[in-house]
Symmetry: C2
Subunit: 296 residues, 2 copies
């Protein structure tokens, strides 16, 4: 179902990521560009750009390819987060999606720098895409503000730090929700919000997208924990580092069955929130199902 | 001279940095806030905020304390750069300004995360300050764009990477100028540009501030190399890591005497460019002299 609805969109997202990398190749010294390229174009679900594009369409956005560029800007932040998470001084992972991680090829210091460079690059690329979309100054300003909020201390970076500090500690469900809400949920949510903002969505619609994003963000993480608990390294294409570092997961907290139920309930509540805000978008509903049904 | 002209301004800059840290204390988990606080409030010349404030006044800016907050946003990027430069996987420095570096107290992983968090935080704080200054949406958008350009691949992060890659290599003067133009010059220049933009400066004035910034940026770095070559670790309050890592410096390239002459010529050319753009600001001229006359 997801492929039928979003297969073409994913092709467009990959093209947009190639455009972003072409721009980066001019911006970055080659020694930094290579690890960034490796990280950005090494596959993945492209969930964040897809959410951005689909929210944009659901809110009436009609302009051409620039919305994919906006989605690509968000994916640059995601790519940064994976590059830093995998570093020896962080999770020390040598494989991701079956590929060697950038630092195993390019070294730790250069990979750390290249990852960091993607944060300001994402802001600049989002502004370029906003211009191409013809959104007004106030909206493009809000877009860059939302992106930095989700990337920063209250979002991705803050969540990564809590993740790091949570190693070896046993978090309760509120603490785990907070950590993942920051680390994963904030960027997923802002992908939807930015898509909505670019389409000129109402405040009600933006609030609906936010509730939807928070819900599927948590559902996504619960599902990740379920997949980590039920798959082996060979199938994963990465080593299950969370288990190795003794982190709290939803499966360790609830057990497999209850975690599975919880993921479904979260996804259902998320789609309810969306409908409640007057957004009836089959593609967003399909993404919500995909988040909990996916095999990885 | 510099103290008489800018002593009061520096007091205001320190107050603004305290306001920025107060905001950060709400934004960051405490474990990240502590290393950030240590880095931001551990002293320093505060050259970037001072340049921002002085350029703002020189271009006719008159509004109250918010321009110091704008300068503080730029200093957050500078603080990030020092935190990352000093990490074990980078320059591995354990002292700066006579103080233990953050990672020696808080650990490498947390300090790396805290430093990274300052990049999006700087964008958000610059937008907040722009609002308080009452600049319009287009200008605040341009301010955040300039800040990210100077922080990112074409500026700070890119220059840091070139610096890293240049270890053990012998750079010629063009390569060294490029590296330092990115690593130090871009953020010094953008401090002036952002101050000018906030004051509603003309394009001619902004171009003059840019030339001035590039000139004093290089003069600053040449002077740093001279100080590194002529002082011992005890006076520096840091270990002279560049020498240890066998990096090219202006002193190794030109010799001490010619480097000293070059720093003065650069500063003089910079002040000429400023006068040429119709900006006759004693405080900026004093800062140009300070950059090459300072003892550290």
């Amino acid at each position: 179902m997801i492929e039928a609805l979003l297969g073409d969109e994913k092709v467009e997202v990959e093209r947009a990521l190639e455009r972003a990398c072409e721009w980066l190749s001019d911006e970055l010294p080659d020694e930094l560009f290579q690890p960034a390229l490796h990280a950005v174009l090494s596959g993945g679900k492209r969930l964040r750009p897809l959410l951005c594009v689909v929210a944009y369409r659901a809110c009436g956005g009609r302009t051409g390819p620039a919305v994919y560029d906006l989605g690509a800007a968000i994916e640059l932040i995601h790519a940064y987060s994976l590059m830093h998470d995998d570093l020896p001084c962080m999770d020390d992972a040598d494989l991701r999606r079956g590929q060697p991680t950038p630092h195993t090829i390019f070294g730790e210091a250069v990979t750390a720098r290249a990852g960091t460079a993607l944060i300001p690059a994402a802001s600049l690329w989002a502004l370029t895409a906003s211009d191409a979309l013809g959104v007004d100054e106030a909206v493009s300003r809000r877009i860059v503000s939302e992106l930095n909020r989700a990337a920063g201390a209250g979002g991705m970076v803050g969540g990564q730090a809590l993740d790091l500090l949570g190693e070896g500690q046993h978090l309760d469900s509120t603490e785990l929700d907070r950590q993942h809400g920051m680390k994963t949920g904030a960027l997923l949510t802002v992908s939807l919000v930015i898509g909505g903002l670019a389409a000129g969505a109402s405040d009600t619609a933006i609030a609906g997208l936010e509730s939807f994003g928070r819900g599927i963000g948590l559902a996504f993480q619960v599902t990740d924990d379920i997949l980590d608990a039920t798959e082996v390294a060979a199938d994963l294409g990465k080593h299950p580092s969370d288990g190795l570092h003794d982190k709290s997961t939803y499966v360790s907290l609830y057990g497999l069955e209850e975690a599975t139920r919880r993921a479904r309930v979260l996804a259902e509540e998320a789609t309810e929130a969306l409908r409640g805000a007057g957004i009836d978008a089959p593609a967003l509903m399909a993404l919500a199902s995909y988040v909990v049904e996916r095999k990885r």
